[in-house]
Amino acid sequence: MTTTELERPIDPKLRRQSSLRLSGPILLLGVAALLLLLSVVRALTGVDSLTSSGTVNAALGLAVPIGMAGLGGLWAERAGVVNIGLEGMMILGTWFGGWAGYQWGPWVGLVAAVIGGALGGLIHAVATVSFGVDHIVSGVAINLLGAGATRYLSALAFEGVEGGGPTQSPRVANLPSFTVPGLSGVLGSVEDQRIVVVSDLAGIARGLVTNVSALTLIAVALVIGSFWVLWRTAFGLRLRSCGENPVAAESLGVNVYRYKYAAVVASGAFAGLGGAFLAIVAASLYREGQTGGRGYIGLAAMIFGNWRPGGLAAGAGLFGYTDALQLRGGNAVHALLLLVVVLLVGVTVWNLLQRRPVAAATGLVAAALLLWWFLATDAVPNQFTFFAPHLTTLLVLSLAAQRLRMPAADGQPYRRGQDR
């Protein structure tokens, strides 16, 4: 690069984009602002469950399977294989977790679930990598297969067993969970004071240190570990190069097939782990239809997170949080409407400052409508909160699809020695 290029004035469009870049401090500031907003809304509406330790704890638990499915999606798509089959792999995970778990204990169940999910991943890898089948087609087929195979196996394995039946396994013992002694109690007493901001923070912190399952800790470690492996090791660089430009990767001596295989099998294993959480930790048994589309939500969380581990963790956390609020009943989500209104007003102000009148007007109208909804009703119907994560995904995608960047060769079939 020459000096003249460096000195060239920066294109205003580029600058506008770079001003939105999320650097560390800005991110922290954003999180702090969000927490502040949340506690203010909590105080205004009097809906304590918005920041109660119970909600946060539930949200953490609900986020784990979504996050694991998302992590599975991340590994596969970073290596260039789209994985719609996450749902099917997760179903395999729940079944194997329940099946092995009730017989040999939760830890064996966990291992079996991971293997079960990885098997689903292997099928996907054989179809997409070796045979060049369209990734979506193979994924849809695996979802069909996962659902069908587990229903068949349940009838064989659980019928006639005490506590089991054609659609569910006998009970599985739970994995150990941890509470930070002392801290949890102190935070609890602060939480009960109901002081704005302070009690809210205490509630959130308490939810994160009380009754945390071992599998949750493993999941958090896996998200961080995935970041490290994929972005800080040679293995990860090669794996990601298969998703960006497999032809170039091959020319540099990377065995693209092998990396894709590894990534997709790992992807299935993560989804299976998410399934294990559902079967062993959340429900203590395998039940048909337990995943409830969480594989898809995981995929959505990954897209929401722009194909990055941190982003997908945030997405999983958000979806887990709305899910937890939904379980608390309609008026908790109702209070969330106010939060969204405030956020929309913030976005409108930002758009005005950026001289984007159309976007600002749209945001303002949306905010007004939501505010009207908030004031005119006192609960959001359960059926609407059910699809909150899906609607969020759709909105995020439609507002930010241009800013999201998927791996360049994501979803494209690759054959060695064939330049496309």
């Binding site: 849809v140 695996i142 069909l144 979803g411």
Partner: protein, 397 residues
């Protein structure tokens, strides 16, 4: 996110790739699904044998039960819905669009159409027409959201239709409450929309002798839809544009096709056909949309469209095969075999049929390369002029 659409190219391109002889192509085209079905049967036999059941006894029981006149009626009825669902998916496939949302589209459409049909009282054909048109409009609108999001905001239709499926589930659950569109059905704890009166129903046809069961009258409309699909794609300019865009977007743009408009049009059309999926059941059997209305037909449709390679006749065969498996598997309960084994079989069929098509395509490609190579070798002595560039391009395409 343009890559997501491009990857579907293979689905349609394969059909169009020129192979040495069309007779051979037809042979391959038939061999692939036949092999896939044989493979699936072999694999399920292994599973059955491993579970200690006799595969032969199971298959024999299925065939015997499936040949029963009453079963044939059920098979035809089920195949009618499957056919429409697969047709809806196939319209998208022809254009490289993956409409995973057929499932949500038909459920929302059937529910709203049932509500409208139950609320009015019109003379016969008009009443039926109203219900069907409402269903098509709702289906088209729901699919249109995905189409619009794709062309205006660049959102992949794969993701948006998956999300719209869940949203449709929520909306249907919201509307299907006794406070809104539903009434409780007497004699059960099921609730459903107000039943459509006699004038809005389609009478069944006594097509199968030896049974009192009647085939859905809607089967005629499904067959007509298949004919319309074929004519539209192969005999109209719109169909030509649609297929062109599916095979090569850049070529379509170069020949003046408005690709964005085609995407929205294809999604609307696919959604409109998806709206028909619930109609055979609604107008021929249940007359009301209740909690027990069949769900998940959209995903079966994807599998059948793949099996039938988006060809109207191929889809019909696929729909009959899938519905035969579904209906005849019911007998397995009496043989102490879990009927779910057929879901495994269906999944294996889909996966192995796409693999088989891919292998056949590769084989055809190798053959073609060899042929071109031979031609070049024969031409070499007298003309060095044209060079190998032009033919090798053809091979790649």
């Amino acid at each position: 996110m343009s890559g997501i659409g491009a990857r579907l190219g293979g689905l349609t391109r394969r059909g169009g790739s020129r192979s040495p002889a069309s007779g051979q192509r037809l042979l391959f085209g038939l061999a692939a699904p036949a092999l896939a079905i044989l493979f699936a049967a072999a694999l399920t036999s292994l599973v059955l044998a491993a579970a200690g059941d006799s595969p032969l006894a199971a298959f024999r029981a299925m065939v015997e039960f499936g040949a029963d006149p009453a079963s044939i009626v059920n098979i035809l009825n089920k195949a009618t819905t499957y056919y429409l669902s697969a047709l809806a998916v196939a319209i998208g496939f022809k254009m490289n669009l993956f409409n995973i949302g057929v499932d949500g589209q038909y459920r929302l459409a059937a529910m709203l159409a049932a509500a409208v049909g139950g609320a009015v009282n019109l003379p016969g054909p008009l009443h039926v027409a109203l219900v069907v048109v409402v269903a098509m409009l709702v289906g088209a609108a729901w699919a249109g959201i995905a189409g619009l999001l794709k062309v205006t905001r660049g959102v992949s239709e794969v993701i948006s239709t998956i999300m719209l499926n869940f949203i449709a589930t929520g909306v249907v659950a919201f509307l299907l409450s006794t406070d809104r569109l539903a009434v409780s059905i007497q004699g059960s704890n099921n609730i459903g929309t107000r039943p459509i009166p006699e004038s809005g129903r389609i009478p069944g046809l006594a097509l199968v002798p030896g049974t009192g069961g009647k085939v859905f009258g809607f089967i005629v409309i499904a067959a007509l839809a298949g004919v319309a699909y074929s004519v539209l794609l192969n005999r109209t300019r719109f169909g030509f544009d649609l297929r062109t865009t599916g095979m090569s977007e850049s070529a379509a743009v170069a020949s003046g096709v408005n690709v964005k408009r085609m995407i929205v049009a294809a999604m609307l059309l696919s959604g409109a056909v998806a709206g028909l999926v619930g109609m055979p059941q609604l107008l021929g059997a249940s007359y009301s949309y209740g909690l027990d209305f069949p769900a998940g037909l959209g995903f079966t449709g994807i599998a059948i469209a793949l099996l039938g390679r988006n060809h109207p006749v191929g889809i019909a065969i696929g729909a009959l095969l899938f519905s035969f498996l579904d209906v005849s598997s019911l007998i397995l309960d009496f043989e102490d075999v879990p009927p779910e084994i057929v879901i495994i079989m269906q999944g294996v069929i889909v996966l192995s049929v796409v693999i088989a098509y891919e292998l056949v395509r590769r084989y055809g490609l190798v053959q073609q390369q060899r042929r071109v190579g031979e031609q070049l070798a024969a031409e070499e002595p007298d003309s060095a002029g044209p060079g190998p560039a032009a033919p090798s391009d053809e091979v790649r395409a």
